[in-house]
Symmetry: C2
Subunit: 134 residues, 2 copies
DNA sequence: ATACTTGCTTCGTGTAACTCGAAGTCAATA
DNA sequence: TATTGACTTCGAGTTACACGAAGCAAGTAT
């Protein structure tokens, strides 16, 4: 089973532009059909899943590419360790991002309730940028 | 109490470049001292706190600016509601981001353990981009 | 007094990761 | 035959900075 650019983009909630961009910079492998159109197979789907996870850790595209290049090299203890280090580092980054995102969400809950109190007329409107201490 | 660009940047783990950039585009207010150097007061600190929260929701800078402009306008029911809508929307965004970040962190934990199994020699090295299904 | 260092200033270019639109190709359909 | 739709490449635009050059002003060391 293969996918066209459009189908592939939809699978990952990405734009076709982005998918083409990834193939152009060599981040995402693809075949071409008779009409020179990009075709993606299951392995490309798996690559792309990995890309989205690593991107979500905040990893720059160039580094993601380096990681995938490592994955395609001949196996060796050294290579394996290098890959592990990258993943471990990104795991850390992911946890930090998650904690930060949680804190932001909590804060926004609080801020939202504050607005609702004002709208209900229970407290006066003190909304001013200088009041972000709330 | 006022702060220089450097002090202010450090407070928010931002670069001096970024702080200057924010003042230049009118997102962050500041005074100037005799030597034309930027000076930030407590209210700027609060503004900046708000900016970092909203940015962390994924809100573009231009929209953040529009929100802060609303905060400085004359109060009215309409204005208040407009502001509330913005905040409520960003609250949603923040929760979505938090959930996604959590999922990524969990996945990275899993991936990390997978690597540790390989390194311990308990399972063979199948690490290949096409195996991101793991 | 002179030189150096520190910290700021503006200005202009560079970067990442897209994002958009123009212009063209090709196959299927009305 | 004409148009539609999906694809192609290419080049320019966007966001949110990052960086470096060149210059000023105050304080410190020699």
């Amino acid at each position: 089973m293969t996918y066209t650019v459009k189908e592939f983009a939809e699978m990952f909630h990405a734009t076709e532009h982005t998918v083409r961009y990834y193939t152009d910079i060599g981040l995402l492998p693809c075949q071409r059909d008779g009409g020179n159109h990009r075709l993606f197979d299951e392995s490309a789907v798996n690559w792309m899943r990995g890309i989205t996870y690593l991107k979500s850790c905040g990893m720059p595209i160039k580094e993601i590419k380096r990681y995938f290049d490592l994955c395609q090299m001949e196996e060796s203890e050294e290579n394996l360790l290098a890959r592990y280090k990258i993943i471990a580092r990104q795991r850390e980054a992911a946890h930090q991002k998650a904690a930060e995102a949680k804190a932001t969400a909590d804060y926004m809950d609080h801020k939202c309730r504050h607005y609702e109190e004002i709208l209900a007329g229970r407290i006066p409107d003190d909304t001013n940028p200088a009041n972000w201490s709330d």
